[in-house]
């Protein structure tokens, strides 16, 4: 009986730790199904990926106001949206930071930045920080390229926008553009995961 009790406790422990570890550590891998969301845009309207009936996929970018890398990429993100929205892959930007900790990343500041820069894409606020942990985002800016396959959103590329954050003129590989071009040609992206220095997401 004692052995039974001990093994029961053990099993419960293993189960609990397995689930907790999965929830806290694992983000998406290539090929995983990405979750949809309903987040507030800078125009105060709620936005879901399911609103975009005719989209072939999405360039989801976790980015923010304060991070110098996010600022360095602002114009390149606008250019990405302009280039690929018409082709079926619009940019959806999400600010994952907790504004109580990250100064300058509050909703009003987001509205102001979107207006100043003339963002052509939704700039959503991950209120309560429910969405970015599911994706497994760790820094800003960080891209998740999603491709619609049989009605599901499949992660096709994760990582950096290109290979030179500080100097756009010196970029030699446009990772996101190459990945979207591959999807448009009916192929899988050759490079599907990249890393870059960025600001850690403020919890």
């Amino acid at each position: 009986m004692k052995i039974l009790k001990v093994s029961f406790v053990l099993i419960v422990f293993i189960l609990v730790s397995a689930f907790t570890i999965k929830n806290t550590l694992d983000g998406y891998k290539i090929g995983d199904i990405a979750t949809d969301f309903k987040l507030k845009n800078v125009d105060n309207k709620m936005v879901s990926l399911s609103d975009y009936k005719s989209a072939k996929g999405f360039i989801v970018i976790f980015t923010c106001n304060h991070c110098p890398f996010s600022i360095a990429y602002q114009d390149r993100i606008i250019a990405l949206d302009k280039k690929y929205k018409a082709k079926g892959y619009p940019v959806i930007a999400i600010n994952p930071n907790n504004p109580a900790i990250s100064k300058g990343d509050d909703f009003e500041a987001m509205q102001q930045r979107a207006k100043e820069k003339g963002f052509t894409f939704p700039y959503l606020f991950d209120e309560g920080q429910q969405i970015y942990p599911q994706y497994g985002a760790t820094r800003t800016p960080e891209v998740y390229l999603l491709n619609k396959e049989n009605g599901k959103l499949i992660v096709a590329y994760m990582g950096a926008i290109d290979n030179n954050s500080q100097d756009e003129a010196a970029v030699t590989e446009k990772y996101v553009e190459n990945a979207v071009d591959a999807l448009l040609a009916g192929k899988k992206p050759t490079i599907n995961t990249t890393k870059a220095i960025g600001c850690s997401i403020k919890k």
């Binding site: 991070c67 110098p68 360095a72 990250s102 100064k103 760790t138 820094r139 990582g159 950096a160 290979n163 030179n164 954050s165 500080q166 100097d167 010196a170 990772y175 990249t194 890393k195 870059a196 220095i197 960025g198 600001c199 850690s200 997401i201 403020k202």
Partner: protein
């Protein structure tokens, strides 16, 4: 005679101006005596793989990174407490290259940073980040503690106590 006086007056005026100018330059030169070594991945690889008897604490940070700035005092304190104990603290800055004079050097002075600061300038982050540690996402702060026998990598912020504990874990194995 009047003209001569005027000329002399103007001359004096200009010489004064000249003197002030020289003094100003001198002050600026004094202020920028800190020079920051720039490294690319090859330099970083050397820094992360020394085979001598020292233990290295390598912190990846930037002046624009709030949690990095908050944990810097812990690294400063570690540097002070382990000075002469075969422990080296090196701060690898990921600040933008064009902000070294305007941000990085003033920051080092303002905070009186004692550990060596180097600037990582290699733009090909996708190549070098996984070489530092395969688990590193690229978010900062991040810290490597190593010696020739053992190494540990942390993508997290440190308190002084936690930092010292991790350093001692590495030191113990010597």
């Amino acid at each position: 005679m009047k003209q001569l006086l005027l000329f002399a007056f103007i001359f004096v005026l200009f010489s004064c101006k000249e003197v002030t100018k020289t003094e100003k330059t001198a002050t600026i030169e004094n202020a920028t005596e800190i020079t920051i070594e720039e490294i690319n991945y090859n330099g970083l690889e050397l820094l992360l793989n020394k085979q001598d008897d020292k233990t290295y604490v390598i912190n990846f940070w930037a002046t624009w990174c709030k949690p990095c700035v908050e944990e810097l005092p812990s690294f400063q304190q570690l540097y002070e407490n382990y000075k002469g104990k075969n422990v080296e603290v090196i701060l690898v800055s990921l600040d933008f290259k064009n902000q070294v004079e305007t941000r990085l050097i003033p920051f080092i002075k303002e905070h009186n940073l004692k550990p060596t600061v180097v600037l990582m300038v290699d733009p090909d982050q996708n190549t070098w980040i996984p070489k530092v540690d395969t688990e590193w996402s690229g978010a900062v702060p991040a810290t490597m503690i190593y010696n020739k026998n053992k190494r540990a990598f942390f993508e997290q912020s440190f308190t002084y106590e936690k930092l010292e504990t991790e350093l001692n874990n590495i030191l113990k194995t010597n």
